[in-house]
Amino acid sequence: MLKLRKVVMAMPKQQPERYDKSKKPGSLPYIWKRISRNPGAMIGFSLLCLIIILSFLSPYIMKYDYSAVNMSERGATPSWEHPFGTDELGRDILSRVLYGARYTLGIGVGAVIIAATFGMLIGAISGFFGGKLDTLLMRALDILQSFPGLVLAIAVATALGTGLVHSIIAIGIAFMPIFARLIRANMLSIRGSEFIEAAVVINCSTPRIIRRHMIPNAVSPLIVQISLLIAQAGLTASTLSFLGLGVQEPTPEWGSMIASARSFIRESPHMVFIPGLFIMITVLSLNLLGDAIRDALDPRLKD
């Protein structure tokens, strides 16, 4: 008996079982684990990282400057000297395409940030207060949404004028209703929750309830939408430049590169093909990643 007691006493104090963070749905390690199991998402993620890194390194590692004109080598086909050939002014397409990634992605991210910020604000106010204000704001957004996103972006870009910042604003406005609706729908369902009533009971002010209790609960579907819409916004940015309403020459934005090369499509198709390929790779990568994030955040989809 005595011996047994000694054994018991000698046993180390039982440590409370540590929680394995990667098993908790919604935690970052868990999301990462699920994304990393999706081969498509990993390909997309790697390609995106590669493009972003190369874009920032390109001024230092590239042999040719993206704006260096060499009239003697106009429209050269791909070679060892110019792996993707040169454009109508003899500029190295590889340098231009890599440098230009920052514009397409930058406009995409910038526009989505603007759309998400203002959309969230409008949606939160609309969903929380309801009533006439809600009707007014939602009908205004209906009007915005009755135009296809691209047409609206073109209209705004025409009104504001061309340029990088204007493109971001134009696409941001065009995409804003999507976020506003998403947040509003969530706010409506959260508004009736008991924990909101509980927040009222401990005397939270209305702005505090919206900011601290409702928005944090309403944003998770937004994260998915953000990752998917960056691709769309990037594509729209290229379309605007292609139409001459976005970023202007000589900035090597992919859409504007295609636009200026399209008159040479018969003689030198690579001038159109290469930037187009990069647009496709980027949009595809973002979509693959966005889909994987959506699946990872959806608690109903178990492995």
């Binding site: 929680y19 924990f195 009533e197 009971v201 005397n203 601290r212």
Partner: protein, 335 residues
């Protein structure tokens, strides 16, 4: 309690009427409720679903949804001040500090994306104006008081069990040492063992802080456990009120008697319990006279005429029934 003396207690509710709108017709949720609560005492509001218990609680907190409420009449005096009349800014000083509330379902009463200590600290920060670090320390103290260790303070509600969540909800409610605590079915969503623990915790807190309590429930066992007095609510009216002993040992109103008849007796072998036949009246269309008349086995012609007033059965024991004198009797129920 139309004919009782004016209460000098902490809370005094007089002729409270609450009407909701639903489409066109008004919904009579609360029809002339009056009761008193002295400091440090516990009152149980007992009644069926839809009897208006939660509406009473929300009226006292003044958190009824504006768009649904058609009219609130009567008086709710807290420490001698009619809180239905004071401006919202003064009400906000009371809410959460002097009067606070425990919710029915701990699963939904906590914000899922904030840590429990944050949620407790929020209430402290809002009312006591202390800095974040001090509020956190106080939150941890409160967690310890309700039996949750410090190393779980930074966890999220979904990492807690139902009973622990209710402890957190209680910790939030008592964060500012309220004088009046309204518990809206605090144990309904919990299983029986956890119920007992939570009730014990509420009793303990009341003893330590001398908090008054309004306990809303349909569980007579819970009432017997912690209340000093009981008010039985039916169709938005108090049909019987009195001390715990009055109601449990001498239920007088047929409805109260029916409630006790529907409770299983520990000491008797009964095959079937006897329910109260029928359904509570539609709050959009409450019958004239006694609202319990359609379900009452003692109903007579006189019951349908005019409003029935409270009759004093015994000192402090009131019953809203024309036949109160004849019906008073010993209960066979032992909880």
């Amino acid at each position: 309690m139309d004919n009782s003396e004016k209460g000098t207690g902490l809370l005094s509710v007089r002729d409270l009427v609450v009407k909701y709108t639903s489409g066109g017709d008004p919904v009579h949720a609360v029809n002339g409720i009056s009761f008193d609560l002295a400091a440090g005492k516990a009152l149980g509001l007992v009644g069926e679903t839809g009897a208006g218990k939660t509406t009473i609680a929300k009226t006292i907190m003044r958190i009824l949804p504006d768009h649904a409420v058609k009219a609130v009449e009567g008086q709710v005096s807290f420490k001698g001040e009619n809180i239905l009349q004071i401006p919202e800014s003064s009400m906000r000083k009371l809410r959460g500090k002097n009067i606070s509330m425990i919710f029915q379902d701990p699963m939904t009463a906590l914000n899922p994306v904030k840590t429990v200590s944050d949620q407790i600290a929020e209430s402290i920060g809002l009312h006591q104006g202390v800095n974040k670090k001090r509020a956190y320390e106080k939150a941890v103290e409160l967690l310890k008081k309700v039996g949750i260790s410090e190393d779980r303070a930074k966890e999220y509600p979904h990492q807690f069990s139902g009973g622990m969540k209710q402890r957190v909800v209680i910790a939030i409610a008592i964060a500012c040492n309220p004088e009046l605590l309204i518990a809206d079915e605090p144990t309904t969503a919990l299983d029986v063992t956890i119920q007992a623990q939570v009730l014990e915790l509420i009793t303990e807190i009341r003893r330590d802080l001398n908090t008054s309590l309004i306990l809303i429930t349909h569980d007579l066992g819970v009432v017997a456990e912690i209340c000093d007095s009981v008010a039985v609510v039916y169709a938005g009216q108090i049909v019987e009120s009195g001390s715990l002993e009055d109601i449990f040992d001498h239920p007088t109103h047929p409805y109260t008697q029916g409630l006790f008849a529907a409770v299983p007796d520990m000491y008797q072998d009964v095959d079937r319990l006897s329910p109260i036949d029928g359904m509570p009246p539609d709050p959009m269309n409450i019958p004239n006279g006694c609202s319990f008349r359609p379900r009452c086995s003692h109903a007579a012609d006189g019951c349908g005429e005019g409003a029935i007033s409270m009759t004093q059965v015994k000192d402090g024991h009131f019953c809203r029934c024309c036949k109160a004198e004849k019906l008073g009797g010993e209960s066979s129920c032992r909880l």
